[in-house]
Amino acid sequence: MTTLLEVSGVSVTFDGFRAINNLSIQIGEPELRAVIGPNGAGKTTFMDIVTGKTRPDEGRVIWGEKSVSLLGMSESAIARAGIGRKFQKPTVFEEQTVRENLAMALRNKRGPFDVLFHKRSRKGAARIAELAEEIGLRDHLPRRAGALSHGQKQWLEIGMLLAQDPRLLLVDEPAAGMTPAEREHTTDILKRAAKTHAVMVIEHDMEFIRRLGCKVTVLHEGAVLAEGSLDHVTQNKEVIDVYLGR
């Protein structure tokens, strides 16, 4: 396992409020990692920083074997570098069909002229079918994404994340609004992805995290409070105080 992403000493302030405070996290490839923490611990802001949405006041975000800094890069360049993100609130393109949503996410060249002269290929169609099968939307491919149920949108978003085939998957609350069976399926998908990729999951559901069976990082007030196996962190006194003990 080699280090894929290294975040060190990152801080960010919104109008005097310190959302992230000297945060340092590493993740290797392949690795599965869960990030937990109470509301306002900075989980989403952390993802914003990694994906380029928010620019930190200080600190470094280093990526890949060539150790490039992600800080100067645009969101799209970071995404092309291999970081995919699933949002907390499912944000699919509701006006478009499931197939179009997946096709857009599919790993291909992203330049406007490449896309303009893009030709549909048998391979691409097969991959879309495969993904649709995996996320249970096989029969819904021609439907408008807006017509899907909330859970299906979650699945579509996961499908889009997988279609991107990124090296690092940042997954924000994937199990929200899912049935127990679906959660299990999600866990399977994430675990399978983590065999070859780096996967970072933000979740509140302890059961879900227990099933992932991976290293857990606890965030609190914008900094790492504890790190280790789930059992290890849940026995940590501070973690119990700020999070579990409530």
Binding site: A79, F87, E95, E100, A103, M104, R110, M160
Partner: protein, 394 residues
């Protein structure tokens, strides 16, 4: 687009039946106008009517461009009529120069000693710019003598302006209402610039006499009007085809996604700014071409044409016709601009209410304004949305 293996993908027309329908209707319309104006003479379809129809086709073309940039890509540009005007100015410069050159050469031909090139140029400059008190040809007119060069300008100037402006605006992530205001500011700046006498485009006099096509002066206006009508129809057909191809398939999918949630598209790895820039620039170029076809039919162009309100009207047409579908833009532009000239041209009969007589020249804008509000409120999909309701009801 020129590479044969990618020009309209196999099955493009089959996948988009509305394109074939549209092209068919356009063809029939062109044929009808040709037959009516040639077969039955001006009594049935006057030359000026042919011109109005040709101009309307040009307006439909820029409306289609506007629909792509706004209805599909979500950029409410209040500046596309500026590109239209620039196209008109670019072709107008050649028309005016070449025609004045003809007149000057003719009048100097009687002089005992033939004129030098410099003398001819000075005489042309005096003819054109005497009205703003200048007798020098501005640097802006360096290519005005050549039709091919000026045709390049028709596409190049709007394209470059859109490229630079778009790059600046999109780069700093100006979106939504802000972007609209900014494009409006651009239009305003351009029209104010053109209103000045010393900027080399004759100030508020504009360019005139554009209906006289150099080299074709021996032909009657009725023939020229028909030719321009054909050219406009061809341009609209080709433009429609180009944009229909553009918005179908994956590119269309991406720009619609940008319209709906551009941040999300960024996280998928698409460089949103390049897409917007491409769409903005391409539509600007097409707008310029539409303007270059429009103004020879209109005969005159002046800075008032580029005033911000013109671009807003353009948006109104597209909204009334129905955004997000190309034929909607065509319907909107055609219906509103033709209705506008019918009402304001005194074609509509007055309505006598007993205590007050509604004269449509005065009341048309009130009707249009309120009608537009009603469309926005009750038919957000515009006229073409009504179409859908009718078709899908049974």
């Amino acid at each position: 687009m020129t590479r044969p293996d990618i020009t309209p993908r196999k099955g493009f027309l089959a996948e988009n039946p509305s394109v074939s329908w549209f092209l068919g209707c356009l063809g029939l319309f062109t044929l009808g106008v040709t037959v009516l104006s040639q077969g039955f003479g001006p009594a049935l379809l006057s030359t000026s009517m042919v011109k109005i129809l040709g101009m309307t086709l040009c307006l439909c073309l820029i409306a289609v461009a506007m629909d792509v940039v706004w209805g599909y890509c979500g950029i409410l540009s209040l500046g596309h009529f500026a590109f239209f005007g620039i196209g008109g100015y670019a072709i107008g410069m050649w028309l005016m120069y070449a025609r004045t050159e003809g007149i000057v050469v003719e009048s100097l031909a009687n002089a005992p000693i033939p004129p030098t090139q410099a003398e001819t140029r000075d005489a042309i400059a005096t003819q054109i710019f005497g009205v703003v008190g200048s007798n020098e040809l501005p640097a802006l007119w360096a290519f005005a003598h050549s039709l091919p060069l000026q045709l390049v300008m028709v596409a190049l100037v709007p394209g470059l302006l859109a490229l630079v402006f778009g790059w600046l605006a999109f780069r700093s992530r100006v979106t939504g209402v802000y972007l609209s205001i900014l494009t409006q500011a651009m239009t305003l700046a351009l029209s104010l610039y053109l209103f000045q006498n010393d900027t080399g485009l004759r100030g508020n006099n504009g360019l005139s006499g554009l209906q006289n096509i150099p080299g074709l002066l021996h032909l009657p206006q009725s023939t020229i009007a028909l030719w321009f009508f054909w050219a406009s129809a061809l341009a609209l057909g080709l433009g429609y085809l180009l944009f229909a191809w553009l918005v179908s398939g994956k590119f269309g999918s991406v720009i619609r996604a940008i319209r709906d949630n551009e941040a999300r598209v960024r996280f998928l790895g698409y460089h949103v700014e390049s897409y917007k820039l491409l769409v903005f620039t391409l539509t600007a170029i097409v707008s310029g071409l539409a303007g270059a076809l429009y103004y020879p039919q209109a005969g005159i162009i002046n800075p008032a044409e580029i005033a911000p309100i013109a671009s807003i009207y353009l948006a109104v047409w597209v909204a009334i016709g129905g955004r997000g579908r190309l034929y909607g833009a065509v319907i909107g532009a055609a219906v509103v601009s033709l209705a506008s000239s019918w009402f304001t041209g005194g074609g509509a009969p007055d309505v006598n209410l007993g205590f007050y007589t509604i004269n449509w020249t005065d009341w048309w804008l009130v009707l249009l304004g309120l009608g537009f509000v009603a469309v926005t409120l009750f038919f957000p999909r515009g006229i073409s949305g009504l179409f859908d309701m009718l078709v899908r009801k049974p």
